[in-house]
C-alpha cells in the first residue's frame, strides 16, 4: 500500500457492507473524494475447499463446488463433472447432455438477473432489483421442481444427473421463456437506458482489453472490453457446438468500450442468447434415455491430471484435478473467475471518485464464496 501522505486518508469499506457483495474488505486510500489506491483484503469466507477435497471422495466434492459460487451452482457442478468425465473418458447419454445445458443456461440467466439487479441497487435504482428478483424466483422454482433445492443443487453427477426431469418440465420452461423474453424490454426501459444510470456508468472504470487479458479477466467482463472470447464457442465442451448463438461484446454504445455500462449490457444481451440456447435445447431434448445409465459404480479415475475450463456466468471456471488412482483426488485446484476479476479492481479504479468505486466493483460481478473458496 506504500506511504500515506499527509493530505490522504485511509478509508475502510467492509467487511460488512452491502455494496461489497459479501464479506470483502477494501482498504481505500483517498485524496479528498479521489481514490488513489485500493487494496482488496479477502479470505473472510475461506472454507478450505481444496484441502477438504483431498480428504473427500470424488462424489463428495460436488456439494462443495455448489458452495463456491452459490449464485451459479449448476455451472460449478457442470465444470467439475465435465473435467471428471474427460479424465475418466466417460461418454454420457445425449439426454443428460441436453438436461445439463438447460440447467446451466437457466442458472446463467438467474445469475445475470441477480448481478444486474444488484448492480442497479449499487448505483441507486431500487425498483429494477425487485423486478429482476421476481423473475429470478421463477427459475429457482424450476430448479426446486427438478431437484428439490433452490440454491445448492448437487444436481450434476459424474456420468449423469441426480434426478430425471419432472413431468411437465418442458412446458414449464417454455412458459418461463414466453414470460421472460418480453421482460428484457422492460428492464431496458427501466434501467439500461435510464439517463441517471448512464451518467453513473458510461465512461466509468474503463478496462482496456490488453489489461483485462494480462489480469486474467474473463467472461462477460472480458467481452465487455470488446474481446470476442467465449469458451462455449471457442473451445466447446459438452455439446455446445450443436447450438446456434451469438457472442455479444461491448461496443461502447453510450461511452467508451470496456466501461461499466458495457459490462452491464453484455450480461443483458447474454440473457437473450441463453434464452435462444434454451429454446433449441428444449426442442431437441431426446425423449428417452436413462439419466443414471452412465454413472460409474466406483469413481476411480486413472492416474493423471487434467485442466478443464468451462464458461460459468462469471467467466473461465477451471478445475485442475490430479488423480493418483485412489477414490480421493490427490490435488484439486479451482481457478475462480471472480478471483481474477477482483484483482483488476485497483488498476481500473485509481483516479475515480469514491462512489464510482462502488459502481466499478458492482460491474465486475464478484461472488466472494468463489474468491475465498
Amino acid at each position: 500500500m506504500g506511504i500515506v501522505k499527509g493530505d490522504q486518508m485511509v478509508l475502510n469499506i467492509g467487511p460488512q457492507h452491502p455494496s461489497t457483495h459479501g464479506v470483502l474488505r477494501l482498504k481505500v486510500v483517498t485524496d479528498g473524494e479521489i481514490v488513489s489506491d485500493i487494496e482488496p483484503i479477502i479470505g473472510y469466507l475461506h472454507r478450505c475447499f481444496e484441502k477438504h477435497c483431498e480428504n473427500s471422495t470424488y462424489e463428495q466434492v460436488i456439494p462443495f463446488t455448489d458452495r463456491c459460487d452459490y449464485i451459479a451452482s449448476m455451472n460449478n457442478n457442470f465444470g467439475y463433472v465435465v473435467a471428471m468425465e474427460k479424465l475418466m473418458e466417460i461418454k454420457v447419454p445425449d439426454r443428460v447432455e441436453y438436461i445439463r445445458i438447460i440447467m446451466a443456461e437457466l442458472n446463467r440467466i438467474a445469475s445475470h438477473l441477480l448481478a444486474l439487479g444488484v448492480y442497479g441497487l449499487d448505483v441507486g435504482a431500487f425498483t429494477p432489483f425487485l423486478y429482476m428478483f421476481r423473475d429470478r424466483e421463477r427459475i429457482l422454482d424450476i430448479f426446486e421442481l427438478t431437484c428439490g433445492a433452490r440454491l445448492l443443487y448437487n444436481y450434476m453427477w459424474v456420468g449423469g444427473v441426480s434426478h430425471d426431469l419432472p413431468v411437465g418440465f418442458v412446458e414449464t420452461v417454455y412458459g418461463f421463456l414466453d414470460y421472460f423474453e418480453p421482460k428484457l424490454k422492460e428492464y431496458n426501459e427501466i434501467l439500461t437506458y435510464n439517463k441517471i444510470f448512464i451518467e453513473r456508468t458510461a465512461d466509468v472504470g474503463v478496462l482496456p482489453p490488453e489489461v483485462a487479458i494480462s489480469y486474467g479477466v474473463s467472461g462477460p467482463n472480458l467481452r465487455g472490453s470488446g474481446v470476442k472470447w467465449d469458451l462455449r464457442k471457442d473451445e466447446p465442451y459438452s455439446i455446445y457446438e450443436r447450438f446456434d448463438f451469438e457472442v455479444p461484446v461491448g461496443e461502447g454504445t453510450v461511452g467508451t468500450t470496456g466501461d461499466c455500462w458495457d459490462r452491464f449490457y453484455v450480461r443483458m444481451l447474454e440473457m437473450i442468447e441463453s434464452a435462444k440456447i434454451l429454446r433449441q435445447a428444449l426442442k431437441n431434448l431426446p425423449q428417452d434415455g436413462d439419466v443414471h445409465q452412465a454413472i460409474p459404480k466406483k469413481i476411480r479415475p486413472p492416474k493423471g491430471s487434467i485442466y478443464q475450463r468451462t464458461e460459468s456466468p462469471r467467466g473461465d471456471l477451471a478445475y485442475y484435478i490430479i488423480s493418483d488412482g485412489s477414490p480421493e483426488p490427490y490435488r484439486l485446484k479451482m481457478r475462480s473467475p471472480a478471483f481474477t476479476a477482483l484483482s483488476v479492481l485497483n488498476e481500473i479504479s485509481r483516479g475515480w471518485m469514491l462512489s464510482d468505486v462502488i459502481a466499478i466493483l458492482g460491474s465486475l460481478d464478484i461472488v466472494l464464496g468463489e474468491i475465498d473458496r
Binding site: 485442466y307 477451471a318 481474477t340
Partner: protein, 233 residues
C-alpha cells in the same frame, strides 16, 4: 509391527512400479496408504534421475524424428529447447507438459509471452502441488494464447525446504494474486514478487496448509484448536 508395515509398504511400492496401482490403493489404513504413495513418488524420482544421468552420458539422441503430428506442447518444447537448451528437462516432460529448471524461468516466461510463435498473453492458472511427504513441491503454470488459441502447461519443481521460484508477476499481472495464493498454501517463495504475503489465510497463520505433511497448530490466538477426527461422523 513397524517391520510388518514397512514390509507391506515396500511390497506395495514394488507392485505399483510394475504398474499395479491397486496394490497401494487397496491398503485399508489411510496413514499407511499415504506413506506408501510417498515412497512410490520417491522411487520414481530416483528412477527418473538415473535415466537422466544415463541419457546425458549417451548424449546424442537422434533428433531428426518425424515432425508431423506434434502436439502444440511438443512444438513449444522444441522451440524452447532451441532457445534455452540447458533449462528444459526433456526426460521429465511429456505430451501434456514441459518441465523446466527454475533458474531462468523469468527469461523463459518473457520469451513465451513475446515470441511471435508463442504469444502466451494470458496466464490461466498457477497450481501448487505437493509430490509427497518426502519429495519436492511443484508449481504448474497453465498458459493460453488469445492470438494463436493454443495452450501449454509448464512445470517447475522446487525443494521442500528451500522452495524458491522466480516470480512472473511482472510478465502477467494476475501472477501477483496467483503467486500469493500458492505461497499462502505451500510456502513457495516467489523471488522478485513485490508484495508476497498471505492472501486467503490470516497473516499470522502458521504452516502451509496444502502440504501433505501439514499439521494443525495447537492453539490459535490462545484458543485451543480441536483435534481433527478421522472420517465423518
Amino acid at each position: 509391527m513397524t517391520d510388518n508395515l514397512e514390509q507391506l509398504i515396500n511390497d506395495a511400492v514394488e507392485k505399483a512400479l510394475a504398474g499395479d496401482m491397486d496394490a497401494i490403493n487397496n491398503i485399508e489404513d489411510r496413514v499407511t496408504r499415504s506413506k506408501a504413495k510417498a515412497a512410490l513418488v520417491k522411487a520414481k524420482r530416483e528412477a527418473a534421475k538415473e535415466q537422466t544421468e544415463k541419457s546425458s552420458d549417451e548424449n546424442s539422441i537422434d533428433s531428426s524424428d518425424v515432425k508431423q503430428d506434434l502436439t502444440i506442447n511438443e512444438n513449444i518444447a522444441e522451440l524452447l529447447i532451441q532457445q534455452f537448451p540447458d533449462d528444459i528437462i526433456k526426460e521429465l516432460s511429456s505430451k501434456e507438459h514441459i518441465q523446466i529448471q527454475s533458474k531462468n524461468w523469468l527469461i523463459i516466461s518473457k520469451y513465451l509471452r513475446d515470441d511471435p510463435a508463442c504469444l502466451f498473453d494470458s496466464l490461466q492458472c498457477i497450481t501448487g502441488v505437493d509430490l509427497g511427504e518426502e519429495s519436492d513441491l511443484e508449481v504448474r503454470y497453465n498458459l493460453h494464447s488469445m492470438t494463436h488459441r493454443h495452450a501449454v502447461e509448464i512445470r517447475i519443481s522446487c525443494l521442500r525446504n528451500k522452495a524458491k521460484v522466480p516470480s512472473v508477476e511482472s510478465i502477467w499481472r494476475i501472477g501477483d494474486w496467483f503467486e500469493r495464493e500458492t505461497y499462502d498454501m505451500y510456502g513457495i517463495e516467489f523471488e522478485g514478487h513485490r508484495d508476497l504475503k498471505r492472501i486467503l489465510l490470516p497473516e499470522d497463520w502458521e504452516g502451509w496448509p496444502l502440504r501433505k505433511d501439514y499439521e494443525v497448530q495447537e492453539t490459535y490466538h490462545g484458543i485451543v484448536v480441536p483435534k481433527v477426527k478421522e472420517g465423518w461422523e
